[in-house]
């Protein structure tokens, strides 16, 4: 579906910009500038405002990024449970640093704050799906699901 069609589906929702952005990202993993412009037009707000919204929320990106978004929680409970070692292993496994995407466009690696799954830390999410008690050893298996 094109971003125009996606946005049109939310046109009747008052204030539904955030819902529209989520839907665009499910399709394209980020918010292309054209899509931000189109969203502004559909929701009848200035582009400067739609852009302000797109850059406010940490789950949105106006820059292109990998298709599968890995977000590792670095909040205190995950931090003390060894999130840093997981991060080092992830960077090694993917060959990229936090904030980057793999050359094949498959993965983007980001940090996040608490995802509310603190019964089984450390936690990471791939496209929003949580993985529990992750350790460097578990990473290959997790990533394989998305290759």
């Amino acid at each position: 579906m094109s971003y125009k069609e996606i946005i049109a589906k939310y046109a009747d929702k008052p204030g539904g910009i955030i819902e529209a952005y989520h839907a665009i990202q499910r399709e394209m993993s980020y918010l292309p500038i054209e899509a931000v412009g189109e969203t502004a037009e559909v929701f009848k707000v200035p582009v400067s405002q739609a852009y302000g919204v797109a850059t406010f929320y940490s789950m949105f990106s106006v820059k292109a990024r990998g298709k599968n978004i890995i977000r590792l929680c670095e909040s205190a409970p995950c931090h003390v449970a060894g999130a840093e070692e997981v991060l080092a292993a992830l960077e090694k496994e993917l060959g990229i640093k936090v904030g980057e995407s793999t050359a094949d466009g498959k993965f983007a690696l980001e940090l996040s704050e608490c995802v509310g799954q603190c019964q089984a830390t450390p936690v990471l999410t791939v496209n929003g799906k949580p993985y529990f008690e992750v350790s460097p050893a578990k990473l290959t298996g997790i990533l394989a699901e998305y290759k």
């Binding site: 204030g15 003390v80 603190c118």
Partner: protein, 407 residues
Amino acid sequence: MAEEMRIVLRNYGKIDPLKIDDYIAQGGYKSLEKARSMDKKALMDEVKKSNLRGRGGAGFNCGMKWSFAASAQADQKYVVCNADEGEPGTYKDRLIMEGDPHTLIEGMAVCAYAIGATKGYIYLRGEYLFLVETLETAIAQAKEKGFLKDFDLEVRSGAGAYVCGEETALIESIEGKRGEPRFKPPYPPNEGLWSKPTIVNNVETYANIPVILEKGADWYAGIGVASYPGTKVLTLTGDVVNRTFFEVPTDTTIRDVVFTFGGGVRDGKRFKAVQIGGTSGAFIPESLLDTRVAFDDMNAIGATLGSGATFVMDETRDIVDVVTRIMKFFEHESCGKCTPCREGTARMHELMEKINEGQGSDKDTALLNKLGNVMTYSCLCGLGQASPAPALTTIKHFAADYQAKMK
């Protein structure tokens, strides 16, 4: 010996959340029916009398808040559920929504009736998008069974902004804007979503409502501490044996939470500190563990009950390192609207980092104290006001940890 008491989690794990009949079989939606048979004022008086106080952190009397919105004159009013559970170490609202979505819906419908609202929103944090389906299914079931009548309920999602847990930031976000808090007054019960009277309550608060109506305000008011009656769901994380959740009466002490329910510190190590209430909570030393998990009791020791997150640290934990990490969190989550928070959170993090790296001196802790105090009483919203607490309380209670890192 302290025992669990499940009110908001009464059906958790016992019923199929996606089967409304299961909920009905447990007496579900009877309270809504009862509420609708009551005079609105009597209904709010009942909620007031139960002394149920908001479970989102501010602890305001719930019935009182409703009565403000009820008496406001407007062509439209809104009922909003704050399901933006973003406090690190907290997942109680997820448990309720996952395990018993109808109790939330019923609580919101009671509120809608009480204040005269026909539209409601559940603002769900972006990290819980997998719950949208559960909630929407439950809403559809309740509609189909005719429980909701003219009350239209919709799920809206956040997108990764802790500050949206602040009620006016949450309102801005539902309006499709940047989640920046508004100054108050006006308060949402008078001027909230799209400038209309709006009640924003936490998931756990709404989940209490059906039980209060079923068993009566007096029954509820008699549970736990009188000034903050009922139960509190606590989620235990960190170096605790049982990394899980418990719902306990509010007269339970922190010591019981950590050592009885939590099973004590892991791996036979000694207790060092517990942070309660979420990431802006105070760090509580051993000496204060006999405090009860009730709003005013916690305030009295310079702490907050907050979301009920209970983060336990053992003797080996580097407190300065953990606080540094927490200050990074606030730098990242500050919305940037007001000066003391926008600049202050970054400076708090910078100073903590300096100390954590062994480059700090007493001058830096003094500056942290001064800045932290200014932020506490000058920031526009609760995020900025609460954010210095971990630094302020650890400088006070764990001075030795800081000294050990000074250059």
